[in-house]
């Protein structure tokens, strides 16, 4: 195949993935590294890429310290209780103390933030969320990144990280291909900031056929944040902490503004409040420290999101579905009705399409809610991702190895979905993490830590052969059959994705098993995952677009395997409502008040698992 090899040499900082994390990294890197060569490699078009491509109607992480609203430690407490104790508090505190400056910048750049006319502060929809007109959120931050980078390579699917051959465990760049031209792109770089996306579509979605694209998280988020890092041998953490979302049925429309700002609430099919009925039983399972409704009522400490999911799931399984969002009261106010619709149009247009198609007017009819299939991500309300170093002025020794947000691979940094243990970052926090990683990456280079990097042609050629193998495989075996897609020698990417989703759904707690799994199921799942990996060597791509899907699938596979390994290792049900280990249903703080850390040997594919201490920065 006559694809050109295009080498970009002498890069100081390569930003892989330019969603909110990557744009933040590119922007900040220019300030601390004025003389440095900063390059962005983005799978789509930076103007509309990542999870914020279609916009956001709220910035979900803003302290409001200048308005006397919250301090960083308040956010740490909140994220800690929401994730049942398991967060990297050093990283959270660090993100939270910088996130306000990020949001203030956004406003200066032209992002329309709503203000509370009475207080002058930003309009809150909840304690941590402020409301924006964010349809053009991504184009605005993309402009900042484009102004700062030396070069932006759009439509580059980064498949692998390059490793330094003069020093073990040091990164040296990345490789990928252009999804339009097919050309092979090599980026030789002193430092790499992975800011790619988390994983949608690793679990079977509730929708089928054409509707498979109607998922909660972007369908183009292919777990590359994890696939790239795992493939390079970086240590990962909290990969079992996948998230299940309670959302409007079939549309996956956001519910945060509805609950918090519009003051809607939920009921079961009998018109009853149902959540509190589940608390006594659930309290026996998780302990009073994580579920104390009286204390929550008194202190406004939130009940963890996963536990509210638990109530919804169990109420439906008890035969009292559907769960309705009571919108008919709030929507009698024309202003609130307009906000309700704008909430979708600014970030989940599909929900508006669905209600228009099904004649569901929330003013006259209470819409249904349901729980989504699981997702793996590190920037929303869960903390999957790489085991990263924290900042020097906060982190204990186990969390600190020199450079903020650097993974366990030297010169390799993570932001957004890629940084583990830092949930509740959302868009503003991801951008902030990118900024933090960029400053640290500049320091890493200035300290001379990236000197003498060597990448041989052998490594570059080996990756090239690997990348195009699916197209080669297709060419070799295509003519063994007459027509169609059934071939004894290969599967195509869609067939592979269907298999992965079925496997994860059935063995690792998807929707069809009500998020339930156990040790036996997970072991069977892992065995099937290994066989699937063998078949992935035989995946066939008919064209460059399918080659893109093939590599997305390979990243999803690496992500999924890590999720299974972590879920098997953590012998407890830490987050009922996100998943259940049927064989170990109780939260077991005595043995498992720890963070889980894994490493996949890039050569053998073998996993090693370990526990890491869960330090708390602040008193309750």
């Amino acid at each position: 195949m006559a694809f050109k090899t295009i080498i970009e040499d002498g890069i100081d900082i390569l930003v892989a993935g330019a969603g909110l994390g990557g744009t933040g990294a590119a922007f900040e890197a220019r300030y601390w590294g004025k003389d440095k060569k900063i390059v962005i490699a983005e799978k789509a078009n930076i103007d509309r890429s990542g999870a914020v491509a279609q916009g956001l109607y709220a910035i979900n992480c803003y302290m409001g310290t200048r308005f006397g609203e919250n301090n960083p430690e308040d956010h740490v407490r909140y994220a800690r209780i929401d994730l049942m104790g398991m967060v990297r508090e050093d990283l959270l505190f660090d993100m939270a103390r910088h996130v306000d400056s990020t949001v203030h910048q956004f406003e200066e750049w032209g992002l329309p933030l709503m203000r509370n006319p009475k207080t002058g502060a930003y309009q809150r929809e909840g304690r941590w969320q402020i409301m924006i007109h964010g349809e053009s959120y991504k184009p605005i931050v993309a402009e900042a990144a484009k102004k700062s980078a030396d070069k932006v390579f759009n439509r580059i699917c980064v498949t692998h990280l390059l490793m330094d051959e003069s020093k073990p465990n040091r990164v040296a760049g990345a490789v990928g291909f252009n999804v339009r031209t097919g050309n092979y792109h090599v980026f030789k770089s002193k430092a790499v900031i992975v800011a790619a996306g988390g994983a949608s579509n690793i679990y079977k979605p509730r929708s089928v056929g054409e509707g498979a694209g109607r998922v909660w998280y972007a369908p183009w988020s292919s777990g590359s944040a994890y696939g790239l890092l795992i493939g390079a041998g970086a240590k990962m953490t909290q990969m079992e902490n996948r998230i299940v979302l309670a959302r409007f049925k079939d549309g996956y429309g956001p519910v945060g503004a509805y609950f918090l700002h519009l003051k809607t609430y939920t009921q079961n099919c009998n018109g009853e409040e149902y959540e509190s009925n589940w608390w006594p039983q659930l309290q026996e399972m998780v302990g009073k420290e994580y579920l104390d409704p009286e204390a929550s009522h008194r202190t406004h400490r939130p009940i963890p999101t996963c536990l509210r999911n638990h109530a919804l799931i169990n109420e439906v399984n008890a035969g009292r579905g559907p769960i309705h969002m009571i919108t008919m009261e709030a929507f009698q106010d024309p202003h609130l009705e307009e906000i309700g619709w704008h909430n979708f149009l600014g970030m989940t247009v599909g929900q508006a399409v669905l209600w228009a198609a099904t004649d569901v007017d929330p003013k006259n009819e209470n819409p249904e809610l349901t729980t989504s299939e699981p997702y793996v991500m590190g920037s929303h309300a869960t903390g999957c991702g790489a085991w990263c170093s924290g900042p020097e002025d906060i982190s204990p020794p186990e969390y600190f190895w020199g450079y903020n947000r650097m993974t366990t691979v030297e010169g390799l940094f993570g932001a957004g979905d890629a940084a583990g243990g830092t949930p509740h970052a959302f868009s503003s926090g991801s951008f902030t993490e990118g900024r933090l990683a960029a400053k640290a990456a500049c320091k890493y280079i200035d300290d001379g830590k990236a000197e003498g990097i060597r990448v041989t042609d052998e490594q570059i050629e080996r990756r090239r052969a690997e990348i195009y193998k699916p197209m080669e495989h297709y060419r070799v075996y295509r003519n063994e059959i007459t027509a169609g897609s059934v071939n004894p020698n290969y599967i195509n990417p869609r067939q592979g994705l269907d298999r992965l989703q079925k496997l994860m759904d059935e063995y690792c707690g998807g929707v069809t098993v009500s998020y339930m799994t156990n040790e036996k199921l997970l072991n069977i799942g892992l065995k099937k995952m290994k066989i699937f990996e063998e078949d992935l060597e035989k995946i066939a791509a008919e064209n460059i677009h399918e080659l893109l899907r093939a590599w997305e699938l390979k990243h999803r596979h690496l992500t999924s395997e890590a999720v299974m390994q972590h879920t098997l290792f953590r012998k407890e049900t830490r987050w009922p409502g996100y998943y259940y280990r049927g064989d170990v249903m109780k939260v077991d703080d005595e043995n498992w008040h720890v963070l889980t850390v894994s490493r996949r040997d890039p050569e053998t594919g073998e996993y090693t698992m370990e526990k890491a201490p869960c330090y708390h920065l602040v008193e309750a």
Binding site: R30, P112, E210, A218, H342, P396, H616
Partner: protein
Amino acid sequence: MPTFVYMTRCDGCGQCVDICPSDIMHMDSVVRRAYNIEPNMCWECYSCVKACPHNAIDVRGYADFAPLGHSVRVQRDEEKGVIAWRIIFRNGEKDMTLLAPITTKPWGQAIPQLADEAEPSQEMRDSQHLYNEPKYIRLDDGGLHTLESNGLKLKEGVYY
């Protein structure tokens, strides 16, 4: 589909192909017009709909749950900095127009060129500050939060 392209309106300019985050808007090699090659990887994000200069792209709800006959149309005007939506229900009983701002500043002018900023001092480099901090945090005392300043200390174990 969910997105689809009206044959008579598309002139094959390729702006939807350029912007689609999911790489599914492609050109048909025969009619030289755009189409959605992979509807089940479309998110209905409307990026292509907004980018199309001829209003040639529309969305119909996913076939596995959405009946036919509805409409959610959009006009995004960068010069005026506004976006306008029109939602028409399938039964025709609801027809809404909604307007929202997309930016408060002209494009391309409000974001600083960081390469033109003064070189950060060594003290800044050694600190925990990011660009333009602590000014952009806008605390009254101008300082960045640290564990000490906030009266915090590390503690290990379970407590709530």
